[in-house]
C-alpha cells in the first residue's frame, strides 16, 4: 500500500462505510486494467495481484448469480430488466476478459522463464500458489518427455538442462534490456549508459526496461 492508497482510505472512511465499498470497487476495475497493461508490456513476470483478483472474483460470482436469478423470471417484454441484464452481462464479459488475458499472459511468461523463476526465491514469490503448482507440474511433464525421447540415452554428463555452453546459458531469462513505452507521472531522471536523462511530467518515452524498472514498480512511471 502506498501513500496515496492510505490517503484514499482516510477519504473513504470519512464518508462512511457505505461509500467505501463502492469506491473500492470503482478502483478495482481500474486497477485490474492497469495490472493487465503492465503485465503485458513489461518483459519480466510481475508479482501476482492476488488480493485484487480475489476481490474481483467475488464480484464476478455475485453477478453470475444475479443474472441467473433474474433471467429465470424474465418475461419477453420486460425491456427494463432485460436492459439491466444486458449491462450486467456486458460488464461481466469485460471483467472476465481482463482476468483471462491477465492470467494467460502470466502463464506464457511462467512457461518461458520457468527454470529461471524457480531458481530465485524473489522470482518464485511472484507466483500464486496455483501458478507454482502449474509451473512445477509442467516442468515435470516436459522433463519426462525429454527423458523418454532422448535425454535418458545420453551420457550422464550431458543430462543437465541449465548449463552454460559456449558462454550461452540455456536458462531463458526476461529481456530486462528490451525497451518499453512509458508515461511519466512526475519529473524524474534515470541513468542509461552513465548518461543522466531528465524525464518530464506527462512525457512519453521509449527506453530500456532495466533503466525504469524501479520507477515502474513504485508507480512513478506508467508503462503503456
Amino acid at each position: 500500500m502506498n501513500f496515496n492508497d492510505i490517503l484514499k482510505d482516510f477519504e473513504t472512511e470519512a464518508k462512511g462505510p457505505k461509500l467505501e465499498s463502492d469506491k473500492h470497487r470503482a478502483d478495482d476495475i481500474q486497477r485490474l486494467t492497469d495490472t493487465w497493461i503492465k503485465e503485458k508490456s513489461v518483459p519480466e513476470l510481475l508479482p501476482y495481484a492476488g488480493e485484487l483478483l480475489d476481490r474481483l472474483l467475488v464480484g464476478v460470482r455475485k453477478q453470475i448469480e444475479f443474472i441467473e436469478m433474474n433471467s429465470i423470471e424474465l418475461q419477453q417484454d420486460e425491456r427494463e430488466i432485460k436492459l439491466l441484464l444486458v449491462i450486467v452481462e456486458n460488464e461481466l464479459d469485460r471483467v472476465q476478459f481482463l482476468i483471462r488475458s491477465y492470467v494467460r499472459v502470466r502463464l506464457s511468461k511462467i512457461d518461458k522463464f520457468a527454470i529461471y523463476l524457480r531458481s530465485e526465491d524473489e522470482e518464485l514469490s511472484k507466483l500464486s500458489s496455483n501458478e507454482t503448482v502449474y509451473m512445477e507440474k509442467h516442468l515435470e511433464l516436459l522433463m519426462d518427455l525429454y527423458n523418454s525421447q532422448f535425454l535418458a540415452s545420453m551420457p550422464e554428463g550431458l543430462q543437465a538442462l541449465d548449463e552454460v555452453a559456449a558462454g550461452i546459458s540455456m536458462v531463458e531469462k526476461p529481456e530486462y534490456e528490451r525497451p518499453v513505452f512509458v508515461k511519466c507521472k512526475r519529473d524524474n531522471h534515470v541513468l542509461i549508459d552513465d548518461d543522466e536523462i531528465e524525464l518530464t511530467r506527462n512525457g512519453i518515452y521509449v527506453m530500456r526496461y532495466s533503466a525504469i524498472r524501479d520507477l515502474v514498480s513504485n508507480g512513478e512511471v506508467m508503462v503503456l
Binding site: 476495475i29 531458481s119 541449465d162 531463458e172 529481456e175 525497451p179 543522466e196
Partner: protein, 267 residues
C-alpha cells in the same frame, strides 16, 4: 509466420480500453441503476446529465435510451485548431485526448445524430489530423538510437501502431552497441542470440559461407539458445544474473533533425 510480439496490443484491445473512459449522456427516460462489479450504475433521470463509461453509453444509445453529449474536442473548429497547431509546430504533437481516435470512431459510428457539426466534416478533419500526426511520427523514426526516444503528445492508439517497429529497432541498436561495451561479459551477444527464443536458435542454424581470397571462413550457422528445463541436480553452472551493462557514453554524432518532432537528446 511472423506474429506481433506479446507486448503488442491489438487495435481491438486499445478500443476496449477506450470504452472504459467516461462520457456524459443525457438519458431520455428514467432508469433504475444497478450494482456492478465496478462502480455502480447510478439511477438515470430523464434529461439529467450523467457520466457513464463509454461502453454503457453505447448500449443505452443503441436502445434509444439516451443521447450522448459529444465532447467539445469532437467539433470541427476544435479539430481544425489542432490541425493548425500541428502545421505550425512541426516538432510537437498537439494535445488530444489519450483515446481520441477510438472514441471519435465509436461516436461517429453509433451516435452520429448527436453531433452538432456535420459528421462528414468531422470525419475529414479527423482524417487530416491523423495523417499529419502519422507523418510526424514516422519522420521521428529517423531519430532511432539505442538510448531513448521521446514522443510526447502521441495517443495510445498512435503509439501502438508504431510500437513493434520502435521497440525491435531500438533493441537491435542496443544489442549492437552493447556488443562492444560488454567488458568481458557475453551480455549483448547472449541476448542477441536469445532474443528470438527458440526461433533464435532456428534462425541461426542456417548456413552461410563467406569467402575471402582463397581462405574460406564460415561464420554463420551459429546457434545459441534453447529453452530448457531444470533438473533438481544443478551442475556447477547455476544461473548467471544479467544486470544491465553500464558503460561510458557512446560517440554517436548529435544530428538532431530539425524537422522532427521526436526529441532526441544526448548529453
Amino acid at each position: 509466420m511472423t506474429e506481433l510480439p506479446p507486448y503488442h496490443f491489438t487495435t481491438s484491445e486499445i478500443n476496449f480500453l477506450a470504452e472504459q473512459e467516461s462520457i456524459t449522456i443525457l438519458p431520455r427516460y428514467t432508469f433504475n441503476g444497478t450494482r456492478l462489479i465496478g462502480p455502480r450504475l447510478p439511477n438515470l433521470k430523464a434529461l439529467h446529465r450523467q457520466q457513464v463509461p463509454v461502453w454503457i453509453a453505447l448500449i443505452l444509445k443503441k436502445q434509444d435510451r439516451c443521447n450522448v453529449v459529444i465532447p467539445d474536442w469532437l467539433s470541427v473548429s476544435f479539430l481544425k485548431q489542432r490541425y493548425d497547431e500541428e502545421v505550425n509546430q512541426p516538432n510537437n504533437f498537439s494535445e488530444l485526448p489519450w483515446h481520441w481516435l477510438p472514441i471519435a470512431k465509436m461516436l461517429l459510428e453509433k451516435c452520429s445524430d448527436d453531433f452538432i457539426d456535420a459528421t462528414h466534416e468531422v470525419r475529414s478533419t479527423l482524417q487530416d489530423l491523423r495523417e499529419i500526426r502519422q507523418l510526424k511520427a514516422r519522420k521521428g523514426i529517423k531519430e532511432l538510437n539505442e538510448v531513448y526516444l521521446q514522443l510526447d503528445g502521441l495517443s495510445l492508439m498512435e503509439i501502438n501502431e508504431i510500437r513493434p517497429f520502435i521497440i525491435e529497432s531500438m533493441n537491435q541498436l542496443r544489442i549492437l552497441s552493447q556488443s562492444v561495451k560488454g567488458n568481458g561479459q557475453f551480455t549483448g551477444i547472449e541476448e542477441a542470440a536469445e532474443k528470438e527464443d527458440v526461433s533464435g536458435l532456428l534462425d541461426e542454424s542456417e548456413v552461410g559461407d563467406y569467402t575471402r581470397d582463397s581462405t574460406r571462413d564460415s561464420i554463420a550457422r551459429d546457434t545459441a539458445t534453447t529453452d530448457s528445463v531444470a533438473r533438481d541436480s544443478i551442475r556447477g553452472s547455476g544461473v548467471r544474473s544479467r544486470k544491465p551493462d553500464t558503460s561510458y557514453g557512446d560517440t554517436r554524432d548529435e544530428n538532431d533533425d530539425e524537422d522532427s518532432d521526436v526529441e532526441y537528446k544526448k548529453s
